[in-house]
Symmetry: C2
């Protein structure tokens, strides 16, 4: 109460994050960046030793990742990093298309278009920087941050929550198929045009560009399939 505002800016409790959350985040990053390749088995005992914690918190972290869809659990067998098949690539981008379309619509109609556009432009700068340094990992990260920012800008708790896993899976795709990149200028250009359409409030163009952006990615990552036509993905495996 007596503390003058402005001083001691950030003195959150020493451990504001639960142990399981910390572990989950670390594993998420490791999976996302490819440090833990798809199909890897994660032994509880081994990981518990590595993280210097008991199996309790570690189990919670694992279960969290399972429910997020990053790990697949086989009863009494173990936990494995999911491996993405071509059908999953299709599925991921179809779902992302749905989510980001909605987010874009809310950004377009929700006001503050310019503020949102500024935020997005920041991530494009990051992309350009990463491109200049020829750092594919940072480029992908910045790319994802663009889309994350777009979805955050929608202001929808649930869109944000649903997109989190999708973006991680997208990162896995990009990591796994780094070779199939398009020209970096083109990649930056697409996002820039998207921002411009948003700034102009041009719904038609923005949505079309977004759809094309997704379609392009699918074509690049899983050639032969398409989001727009109704052809079933090559590897069904769906429920």
């Amino acid at each position: 109460m007596a503390l003058p505002p402005g001083m001691l800016p950030e003195i959150e409790p020493v451990s504001r994050e639960s142990t399981a959350a910390v572990i989950a985040r670390q594993l998420r990053d490791a999976i996302m960046t490819g440090a833990l390749p798809p199909g890897t088995q994660l032994g509880e005992t081994e990981l518990a030793a590595r993280f210097q914690v008991s199996r309790g918190p570690l189990r919670e972290a694992m279960q969290h990742l399972v429910s997020e869809g990053l790990l697949r659990s086989e009863r009494h067998r173990g936990l494995f990093v999911i491996d993405l098949e071509p059908g999953d690539v299709y599925d991921i981008y179809a779902a992302r298309s749905a989510i980001e379309r909605a987010a874009m619509l809310r950004a377009l109609r929700g006001g503050d278009r310019n503020r949102i556009a500024d935020l997005l432009e920041q991530t494009v700068v990051e992309m350009a920087t990463a491109a200049g340094e020829d750092d594919p990992g940072a480029l992908s990260t910045a790319d994802l941050r663009f889309h994350e920012a777009l979805i955050n800008a929608s202001g929808s708790k649930r869109l944000v929550r649903m997109a989190r896993t999708l973006l991680i899976e997208t990162r896995m795709c990009l990591t796994a198929l780094q070779s199939t990149y398009q020209r970096v200028e083109e990649r930056v250009e697409e996002h820039t045009k998207l921002i411009q359409a948003l700034r102009d409030g041009d719904e038609e163009t923005a949505l079309t560009l977004l759809e094309a952006h997704m379609e392009d990615a699918v074509q690049r990552l899983a050639p032969g399939t398409s989001l727009t036509d109704g052809h079933a993905p090559p590897v069904p495996g769906n429920a």
Copy 2:
């Protein structure tokens, strides 16, 4: 191998479901139907005693529900059933609109429209039956099953996964605000028209009807807000 096919139709392992999953499902149902009203605190010790299990599996179930967004966890305080504010109603239906639009598109373009329409019609029959018996709970359940079936028909793992929580939250809304129901005939009619548009392959009509369906629900559950215009939800609380 020597077993003649057709006999012993379903002899899956005695316990094919993990303990935590069973508990999670029971709690989910309880929350969905309103047996556990929003805001209720769930004590681990108490629940562990009720379910006759240790706190370990129970904790896992709880954490699962937390990550699904049905429970909110306050560190060192306890777990509480989320309470839905008007802003959440808006958010839920905005997200559902995005998901179901995508599902409808895939159902429209993915072929087998008639088979899908037949499946959906089945749930409408359930709705009519529940309406005839004047059972609001069963009516809501059938309503949700319609939308669940639509999303399942999309064949997208991720759309299904993302929709699960949304449908549960929808059920919570319907349970909490049973008084604001529209005429049951109208409610059945809306779904029937949706099926017809799907059967005809009329994308324009199907998507428009779906959007209107969502808009109607929002108007009924959270008067004064709208999905289509960009007005911020009355209670932000978003990240």
